[in-house]
């Protein structure tokens, strides 16, 4: 029987770490992910797990040590947020090209400038091209469930890529909600023992990691990473199916909410999907308007064709970015979803809005307004508010 609990997102991920009992956990504190290493340190201090904590002196060293441990043949992971991830930047690319199945518990927080500790996606979205699998959560339950699937996906022989499991800072990481936990023995079976094929401490085979590769070889390594990312699509779905058999909870590349007959859709990532769902229920109940939501779970690899297909029947869509990329046009999600629609020769009207930067609230009313805007765009085929900011103070 599943265990009923009430946990915050950070507690839920820490509990998953406890159940997985990984080998090496280097970490450096940063708000709002700090609680994760604190919980893990407590598990270690009380003999509940035999993970080795490395008290590194920075996030750069956290990812460097995680990389060393993983290359050595250990199951290794770390946790961070925001500037901590920015400091790891160089190492994110090295981890991916070394094809190491590292897991990063990322608690999304705005990047500094000005300093801000609240949720947005500028940290992970900036790392979207680093070669990491990225899976996002709306709730504590999803953060926990995604985390349990992380090592099996990353370590799969057709993948061998690092993976970041993302949840929104404070909103998800600190908000306490009801959660269903999987029993320890089921988690152990699901995640399995780590048996790496090639590793530094293999008595039967020596290994060199991290070569200098000239232009004769570099491009092939990138193509191989691309292949692994393509393979990850199938593996992510297989793992989701296996997880559903264990728990009854269904996961895919994205969640389609009230999309069966939707004419107006929103595409969004993370915790704000919950607010959007409330707006949808209200609109449908009061006006009968056919509104729906697509909540992206897997951003890397990007489910391009699947998304275009899911949006093929709507009249207008608002793609919501919780971070800037300062192209002076789209945000990252906006650019990629619109590229997917173009490739599918879709004629759906699409706008790209920015919201929630640095933890700015987005309300049910905001979502209702967005659906009204979409209705108007579908009628007039005129877009006057492309790339607008939702909830921006005008003065």
């Amino acid at each position: 029987m599943a265990i009923r609990e009430r946990l915050s997102g950070n507690e839920a991920v820490a509990y998953a770490i406890k159940q997985i009992n990984p080998d090496v956990f280097p970490a450096f504190p940063i708000t709002p992910s700090t609680e994760i290493p604190q919980y893990v340190a407590n598990y270690i201090a009380n003999g509940e797990i035999d993970t080795e904590f490395i008290h590194v002196e920075s996030e750069h060293s956290a990812m460097s040590a995680t990389l060393g441990a993983s290359a050595a043949g250990a199951r290794a992971l770390t946790a961070t947020s925001s500037c901590g991830m920015a400091l790891m930047w160089e190492e994110l690319y090295v981890a991916a090209s070394d094809r190491l199945p590292i897991v990063l518990a990322l608690v999304n927080r705005a990047l500094t400038g000005p300093i801000n500790i609240n949720a947005d996606h500028s940290d992970s979205m900036g790392a979207r091209d680093s070669g990491w699998i990225q899976i996002y959560a709306e709730t504590n339950q999803e953060a926990y469930d995604n985390f349990l699937q992380a090592f099996p996906i990353a370590e799969h022989k057709d993948v061998h890529l690092p993976i970041m499991i993302c949840q929104d800072g404070f909103i998800t990481s600190h908000g306490v909600e009801n959660i269903l936990l999987v029993e320890d023995d089921l988690v152990k079976d699901f995640v399995g023992e780590y048996e790496p094929e090639h590793y530094l401490l293999n008595a039967k085979e020596k290994m060199s990691v991290g070569p200098y590769a000239v232009s004769n070889y570099y491009m092939e390594t990138k193509r191989a990473q691309r292949q692994a990312m393509m393979n990850a699509k199938r593996v992510i779905l297989d793992m989701a199916e296996k997880f559903e058999k264990m728990t009854g909870r269904k996961y895919g590349f994205f969640e389609e909410y009230r999309m069966e007959d939707a004419e107006y859709a929103i595409v969004i990532i993370g915790s704000a999907a919950g607010t959007c769902k409330a707006a949808i229920e209200q609109i449908r109940a009061t006006t009968g308007k056919k509104v729906g939501l697509i909540k992206i779970r897997v951003f890397r690899p990007f489910p391009e064709e699947e998304l275009a297909a899911a949006l093929s029947k709507v009249k207008a869509v608002a793609i919501m970015d919780r971070c800037e990329m300062f192209s002076a046009t789209s945000g990252p999600l906006g650019a990629e979803v619109r590229a997917a629609l173009y490739q599918a020769k879709s004629d759906v009207e699409a706008v790209n809005y920015f919201y929630g930067l640095g933890g700015r609230d987005i309300t049910v009313q905001d979502f209702e307004d967005i659906y009204n805007r979409l209705e108007k765009i579908a009628e007039t085929h005129e877009i006057t508010d492309m790339y607008s900011y939702i909830g921006l103070r005008e003065k």
Binding site: S58, S64, E91, L201, S208
Partner: protein, 311 residues
């Protein structure tokens, strides 16, 4: 250990850095690596780490590796942290019964990767007390990128970012004393060495560093023919002059106790070490005599300080 040192036996141990790598003729770094690795017991396995630098790009150029042991290069500034992860993985996997063999952990960095960009990562790894050796092959500048100054570069050296010119006498600042800084971490073993004569000093220090439980640091003066401007065949002589002039004293710090490894019977003038090197050529121009006096005074001061610590 020292009494049992036998040059012939040591030199006949199998090479753990295979020939065929692309390091320069007359490179001191390569000699440092070969000698340190030779200090491993033949039955012991090792994981060798490496900061980005000449050594890395010349010894592990895909698809060839010169290492007879497992080896990991990660980036420029994190050789300490990376190997600390490997060493921790070893302890966990050993505890869980997944590994039987004995492994040793040795990582190499140039002075750029050690004194400067990798300083924090090194300090962290040493403070945490991982059972590993960090070896700095100190050639006194960023040689891989073309001889830019580092904090290990001696004062007055002509480098590509501190060029001697009409109004410049090379690097303005004096060298950072990294071995002393590492000793202040209160780790069990710190050694400063180079290769002279029969390699006894560097070999025995490497052996102690590797087989002393806990964190150890070795600073090895490793001349660079391109950056220093000497004839490749002169490398051993340059090292000898560095020691005999007390520019590069040989010492160790064992459990906090400072021990002088060698005191020249007659300390040679610093000029003898500087003169064969192109990077100090400008110091010998007429009018620059006072620079030589200042440089000599700095070396004398540090030698005095070291002798006091070693009493």
């Amino acid at each position: 250990m020292e009494s049992t040192y036998n040059f012939k036996e040591v030199m006949n141990k199998p090479e753990r850095l295979a020939p065929g790598h692309r390091m320069c003729a007359g490179c001191g770094g390569t000699v440092a690596v070969r000698t340190v690795l030779r200090a491993l017991k033949e039955g012991d396995k090792a994981v060798i780490g490496n900061a980005t630098g000449c050594l890395e790009v010349s010894t592990f150029m895909y698809p060839y590796t010169a290492y007879e042991d497992s080896y990991i290069h990660n980036a420029f500034e994190n050789a300490g942290a990376t190997l600390s992860g490997v060493e921790t993985a070893y302890r966990v996997l050993k505890k869980k019964g997944k590994i039987d063999d004995t492994y040793k952990f040795i990582t190499f960095g140039g002075d750029g990767g050690t004194y400067d960009i990798g300083f924090q990562s090194l300090s962290g790894a040493m403070e945490r007390g991982h059972d590993m050796v960090y070896v700095c092959y100190d050639n006194g500048a960023y040689m891989n990128t073309g001889t830019q100054r580092s904090s290990a570069t001696p004062q007055y050296a002509d480098t590509t970012t501190t060029p001697a010119g009409k109004v410049s006498n090379g690097k303005v600042q004096i060298r950072k004393d990294l071995a002393a800084i590492m000793a202040e971490h209160h780790i069990p073993y710190v050694g400063q060495t180079t290769y002279t004569g029969n390699f006894k000093d560097i070999y025995t220090k490497a052996e102690k560093a590797i087989y002393t439980p806990g964190a150890a640091f070795l600073n090895v003066l490793s001349p660079c023919p391109r950056g220093w401007g000497y004839e490749p065949s002169e490398m051993m002589n340059i090292c000898k002059l560095a020691v005999e002039t007390c520019y590069w004293p040989l010492f160790e710090v064992v459990d906090g106790k400072w021990i002088l490894s060698y005191a020249p019977k007659k300390k040679l003038p610093l000029e003898d070490f500087l003169r064969p090197q192109r990077r100090f050529k400008h110091l010998f121009k007429p009018g620059n005599e006072e620079l030589l006096v200042a440089f000599q005074a700095e070396v004398d001061k540090r030698w005095e300080e070291l002798q006091n610590k070693c009493q």
